[in-house]
Subunit: 318 residues, 4 copies
């Protein structure tokens, strides 16, 4: 049966994103994981039965049709520069080729629900960041439809579990530091992901305040969205439903999205709520997703599905 599967490989399989990707691919019956790299864990088992980690230098790149790059930021770009002429197509989960990186021209910034045909034909996909995934999928159709009041800032308050910060040991990520805490960071509109959001939503005045949440995984983004007069939450939800359909990896809800509803899935849940009595109309938009799922590995597998001609949601947890 695995004879009919398409071979893929994973660089950087032992970080949080790489491990999650391997867990999803393990349950995907259209592909076979040919290798997963980790210099540190070489020889030890991966989440894929029967597969052990290999050092980066020993990865049989020539044997696979598609590779995922879950390397540290910066290393993906240099890997692409060295191997770009090879045969394998690439899904880069790092920030190296995303909008605002300076290398965005080389890649397709791939949202399976927004530009599926571009994704299908791409040679190199820049897989969106976790925070931008929620913000862009929520706001891009609304802005395109003229619903947003661009004269007022869009205030995004976001909270992410700690796996969003990677698996490299740092004091501020120790359990003893994070337990019982909650803190904003990147204050002053300085978070790396803003470049990606701004390049994609250039007309919006974004304010982005992320917070470190004492959970392992998941993101909730609460957005105070200035809207044109007459625009309300019902219209916003209707437009999302029209854009994204009822089924798939994006779920539009009338209830408040919660982290627990999307953790360990590849879903993005969206909702919108009117705020009565304001002179300047503003809708509260809420997006919830798993930073490792729809915010990283889940979306990467959706992109892979399109590139390899599979159904977009094959193997995806939604």
């Amino acid at each position: 049966m695995s004879a009919h599967r398409i071979s893929v490989g994973v660089f950087g399989g032992n970080g949080y994103t790489g491990l999650e990707l391997l867990r999803i691919l393990r349950g995907h019956d259209g592909v076979a994981v040919r290798f997963a790299t980790s210099d540190r864990e070489a020889g030890r088992p991966t989440p894929v039965p029967g597969l052990s980690f290999v050092p980066v230098a020993e990865a049989p790149v020539g044997d696979v049709e598609l590779v995922f790059l879950c390397l540290p930021h910066g290393e993906a770009a240099s890997w692409v520069e060295r191997h770009g002429g090879g045969e394998a197509r690439i899904v880069d989960l790092t920030a190296d080729h995303r909008p605002g990186s300076g290398r965005e021209a080389r890649a397709v910034y791939g949202f399976p629900e927004l530009n599926p045909q571009e994704v299908a034909g791409a040679r190199l996909i820049a897989n969106p960041g976790c925070y931008p995934t929620g913000v862009i999928l929520a706001l891009a159709p609304l802005d395109r439809a003229g619903m947003v009041d661009r004269e007022r800032p869009v205030a995004v308050s976001a909270a992410s579990g700690v796996t969003g910060a990677g698996r490299a040991p740092k004091r501020e990520l120790l359990f003893g530091e994070v337990f019982g805490d909650f803190r904003p960071y990147g204050l002053g509109n300085e978070h790396l992901h803003l470049k990606e959001m701004r390049a994609t939503l250039p007309e919006l005045q974004l304010i982005f305040v992320p917070h470190l949440l004492p959970v392992a995984r998941g993101i909730v983004e609460t957005i105070a969205l200035p809207v044109r007069p007459g625009v309300d939450a019902a219209q916003i939800k209707a437009l999302w439903r029209e854009t994204y359909g009822e089924c798939g990896a994006i779920r539009v809800s009338d209830l408040a999205p919660a982290l627990a509803d999307v953790a360990d899935t590849d879903l993005l849940e969206l909702s919108a709520f009117d705020n009565a009595g304001l002179r300047a109309p503003t809708v509260t938009v809420v997006a919830a997703l798993d930073n490792l799922g729809k915010g990283a590995a889940g979306q990467a597998v959706q992109n892979m599905n399109l590139m390899l001609g599979f159904d977009a949601l094959r193997g995806v947890r939604c």
Copy 2:
């Protein structure tokens, strides 16, 4: 030595707020806790050495000069109606007499840093709510100084540990439900505390989105504050420092306030950050406090200190 102490009593001493109040009073050398009530725990020890809980009906109200009401919301108002003609002065920690309650005329809404003289002379204090404490102490002086652009909404994103929701057993507060979750609630500008904030800051267009945080205690409020042209974070911090002084229960910081910095204290930490490149100038304001400390029992003890003629910070953890 306890002969020189002033006798006080606590109604509702076995909820999270009441227990915290007893812990603070235990370390206060100007008062003696004469009684603490709990029908459920009657006869069991309180956090005050040598003192056991008594049923509400057996509390020796006549023996004390001041009582704290930590009863369920609604019961404080009826207690005051029954005992209002008694001798003891009252600090009500419930919402029953706060602005917007319909009973606000009977009480002084007491912020020791904003209206200390009114507090000192009051017979009945409505002690501010946890969320409003951060919002009002941050914004009231700024709005009074004309720094806020009242034409645009003020978006408050807040997160609170679960003790803010009380100690009565409810499914949604079970450990098995909250663990690993994070969720907004009161969407649509419907939180009870909005009444209190709006009544105090009537000119501001407040949007308030609280979130339930998987920690026991603490609040972080992140505010996208529309400011008048030319107003920046440095001016805001300077005004706070001028208003609140360098010492005391309010600390103005140049770093991002975090929950861990204020948990188990009676501090409120404030900071402000510029957001470059917006056409509509907006400063990010962050407030961090312990919902049981400055957000409830700590502020109540500050108010008591003023009422009894003590130093405002006596026994307060800051």
Copy 3:
């Protein structure tokens, strides 16, 4: 396709065990869930797509071949008394028919790895408790093989996530109480589950000390096992491997089992370690399982598989 599926029903589908069971059954391609009951949540969606909860009184018991009872302890017995003459076979996940309950004669106490043939033919299965599952599967084969020194007590120290205590609201299970805590309970060998363990392992002198662990799910049991002279960890692991095989829901490891390795699975992981230098030889045995998986719903599905003639591990997460 669902025409070929066997219909099953779930009583008490909205507790932690019931919900977990529904999640497993959702992914099982041999059965169709015909109903799930919850008086409280009647009309709301279950985890099974397209299926809503129905009140207990409206469950179409006559339409299914097998029912799972996830009712509160005590209610399962009375349900069986009322419906026992019906057609459906029964997997009872409560304690009502387990060894030591006084009703054990009516049921087969079903461990799919220990008595599969009895399970296959049973009309009523008493599904083992979460704590006993680890202890019994670890110790029963060792005791039967004469490896245990019955003259000395077997000290079991166990820790369980809070979902093991059910979903009914109780103060001691509130997030505000459990967060940051860890506590033994049932001290004095008084835990309900001891009856079940003692009835199954009557020759052993069990001491059982459970602890409440501040996580949602999972159990680790650490056992100081007195062994006969000459018995060591290697022999113990070899016997388990012989008894349980290499594949399946029981995994024998040379490393220390950890809760994270088995959470969200239906696995039981076992290991054993020698303690050098003791005059009275004692091996440390460690068992890890998910209280909702192998400790409840996962094992129930294994039992169902045997009863319905399916492969024992069909749909099981291991």
Copy 4:
């Protein structure tokens, strides 16, 4: 007033133990902290108001009467070798001079409740480890009184919050790894602290299994204690009460000790429970303490108090 205080210094003030020590000393009115070292944090504020960290090389050792060593294990011994001839007395919180270290002859292993006079006269104190503190204070008096059956092993199952493992960044201590997990370690009786316990309780056959608990701080130790015929829990508690008195840092309880009862304190809580129906009599002993409190800094301050002639509990949180 600080003129009458005795000057002390802290080496390694920026680890979890050092920070806790500084927090306790801040509230101690008999001493003044003259310096606290941290090469990494030099110049930044310590928890002591007005005091900033200094590099180790710049610590004014000559100005203090007593130093605390909270350095990494191994560095304390070399510090003592270099400065041992100086004037300051030393409380070493590392394992470097504890029983079993090979350097125990140079120091007094100091338990303020077991050998206060030796402590008072010591020049160098080896402050006990966190796990041994609970085990030794619980068992030493029982063994001395002949209550323990030395022919059977003593099985200690212990769980500790992560600050017990220090503040140096390691992958296995990241929040993303520890959250939701619980795992035994040091299996096979290999934990470092066993040396210290064995050297102090040489006649007992100790089995020690520690577990990593997903909380920041606190230890619970549950001990299956083989006792001589006729010995019961009541006698054990009576002996502890006789040995340790009713007041002080050791509290004997009739209820199950819990981590939450002792977190953020310098208490050790002990209890004992009979296990009915065993042929080989075994009492369950439970000890709970804060690994940073009685298990480290709190006990160090008790020892300091004795060395400097203060009341043993001055400034101690109990």
